[in-house]
Assembly symmetry: C2
Homo-oligomer: 415 residues x 2
């Protein structure tokens, strides 16, 4: 029976839907800026709702605006099989990160429908809210709240970088899909499969189409505040300055040494760096910056991450550095039935494949706390992601959707 | 006759006017954010116009929104004596920088009026537009355009950091003082005296009240653009990154070495530093930062400033650095009749005084290209400026205004 669903996957339809979604927040350089819970992120849910309605699927939304499109199974009481990812992007994001996993799931639902396959379990597309962090600088928000790893109440107190409360953005997002029925957080699910572009160069480099993820590396994220004193650039002597930019720069250098790894397994990034008051003639009195540190080994994450505050303080110079940890996601091993099934399915469909590590974090790492999970990677051009030029081929995207459709049917117990 | 005008200087009135002005753009921390040509900067001109009207003074405005309040002299054809400074502040500025020179001039006009003194020349208060740079990152704008050192047309093409055209802001500022008569740029002036807080610690340190400025140190300002490539913080290996933050940090370190001066005469500041896209999980593809470099010696300014572009390129690493020079203000010597007159007047009024260098740039350095110029400094607390806690005493402010009133009467030829 293998192949009935995957044969109905429509490469052109899947590509067209990517291009339709890319209009929501399109940037002049061909990328997408669709920040979590902004107007375009709400429109993305509304578009999915509309597409789903035309196929007779139902829709649900939970208190953090995680959004679900459901194709019923024959057993109304069976826990659903979920598949999806996120609709939000980085501030200068691309057309595939996140949305591919959502549209591959929708394509799988349609292909299964087109093939007339009945499954015992319902199959649902899931959109997890705010995977990228958006204006709230808090990533994998929806999936972590769904599984209880973050408290809903804590998240509802967040404000955006524009100081607007997240509650207003959630309410607006929910209004955009008012037909969707309310659902509680953390309902039982039988399995979760997330398709995603690789966001790294490995599949392309070795010429494979399908990546079977076996581990998602861990990530610790910190925010460092450096407090100094504003002063006049023309008058204050160097030795009397408390220049927060100078201290932050020294700390950044020390952190680069701290995280230096000749084997290049460690990923260390200062991606956000905000100077105040940020005027050419003023010695900066304040700097805030982020540290993103990733590694597949929990011991390394612990050892190097635990020393971050000490490194910052040791190099704070005339200023005062304080460190707050915002994320500590342990490495997640994806092993067992679902990765095996993904691998076997790719093989049966004649698609080249390999087992691999995920350098990026994904909603799957939180859902893995409550259900068996698998991830399907497809190549992206030159491994470039979190960039407006992010690209992937229609053929590779469709190949991943074919594997996904077959895997979902299998997990949902064909009847 | 010395002392008639200065005796009418009213310390309480002068202080009250500072507090009234500080309401326009007041910040929660007790400072002022009144960016050049913003609504509060326009209101500051309107308030001066209102005060001037009550004393029978007339008002004028030129095409760059430089604003003038005039007390007539007996000779309608005589070139005026000007005194003033600026009403705009740094983004996190204080209550005295700039506005003191404006209010001291207004206090002098009132004191001269109250003393019933007639002068041959008119005496005018001058507000020079956008001394601090504001949203246009272009300081001493009004004074440099007034003397022809910058072209009006070039300035009128500027946009703010919010992308709004400066022409709209100038038009709004002019509308706020629609009673003021139009005036051309660069009308002839017989002398200019600028009162200012020192913005440095020297007067306070040696316990003197009046600083007689003999040289304003020169300033070169550059903007550096660092171009790299956005990338995913979790996937891209260090050796494959083109991280604009890393390159900008390396350049900043190299510049600190380049400008290192054990004698601490050099002033070198990176005050503005903007990362794009500025998200924790994205390797930054772009950084722009400012370099502010000051020294009293033109040769040093030339030698070290000319090497800036080479230093930046030598440390650009995997990115590409480009350098644009935005300001090159040569050191300006203030010598001759007006500084001598300021010094003599302070002595006659029994005020302690000293000759000194100005570490900060001032509108006076441009006006010096077209007229004899002098500057009167008064102490500011701990030398702190370009900071919301900037402070000065009512007594010191009044002392400076007393010297200014006498000097202006003298320069305007008492009749």
């Amino acid at each position: 029976m293998i192949g009935l669903a995957s044969a109905k996957v429509d490469e052109a339809r899947l590509w067209r839907r990517h291009m339709d979604m890319a209009k929501l927040g399109a940037t002049p350089k061909g990328g997408v800026r669709r920040l979590a819970l902004d107007a375009n992120d709400a429109k993305a849910r509304a578009l999915l709702l509309d597409w789903g309605r035309r196929r007779g699927f139902s829709a649900f939304i939970d208190p953090i605006a995680n959004f679900f499109i459901r194709r019923d199974g024959t057993d109304r009481h069976a826990d659903p099989v979920l598949s999806g990812s996120h609709t939000d992007t980085q501030p200068s994001g691309g057309r595939f990160d996140g949305i591919y996993g959502v549209l591959a799931a929708f394509e799988a639902l349609e292909a299964i429908e087109d093939a007339g396959i009945r499954t015992r379990r319902p199959i649902e597309l899931a959109v997890w809210t705010c995977e990228e962090g958006g204006a709230y600088l808090t990533g994998t928000m929806g999936s972590s709240v769904f599984v209880g790893a973050r408290k809903l109440d804590d998240v509802l107190r967040l404000k955006g970088t524009d100081d607007a409360p997240i509650t207003a953005a959630i309410a607006a997002t929910r209004r955009a899909v008012s037909e969707a029925a309310d659902r509680p957080l953390g309902f039982p699910i039988s399995a979760f499969v997330e398709a995603h572009i690789e966001q790294g160069p490995e599949l392309e480099a070795v010429g494979k189409t399908i990546g079977v993820v076996t581990v998602i590396q861990g990530c610790r994220r910190f925010f460092v505040e450096v407090d100094g004193e504003d002063g006049h650039a023309g008058t204050v002597k160097r030795s009397r300055r408390r220049d927060a930019f100078v201290s932050a720069c020294d700390i950044a250098h020390a952190l680069r040494r701290h995280f230096h790894d000749p084997d290049e397994i460690i990923r260390f990034t200062i991606g956000r760096f905000v100077v105040t008051p940020n005027a050419p003639a003023v010695i900066p009195g304040h700097v805030t910056f982020s540290i993103d540190f990733r590694h597949p080994d929990d011991g390394v994450l612990r050892r190097l991450g635990d020393a971050v505050a000490d490194v910052c303080r040791a190099h704070q110079g005339a200023c005062t550095a304080s460190v707050r940890e915002a994320v500590w996601a342990k490495p997640v091993e994806l092993c067992g039935a679902i990765p095996d099934l993904i691998e076997a399915t790719a093989g049966r469909l004649g698609l080249s494949h390999m087992r691999m590590l995920s350098g990026a974090g994904h909603d799957a790492m939180y859902i893995a706390q409550v259900a068996p999970v698998g991830m399907i990677f497809v190549p992206c051009e030159k491994g470039i992601s979190h960039n407006e030029v992010e690209n992937a081929t229609p053929a590779d995207l469709a190949a991943g959707a074919r594997v996904l459709a077959e895997v979902l049917v299998e997990l949902a117990d064909r009847t």
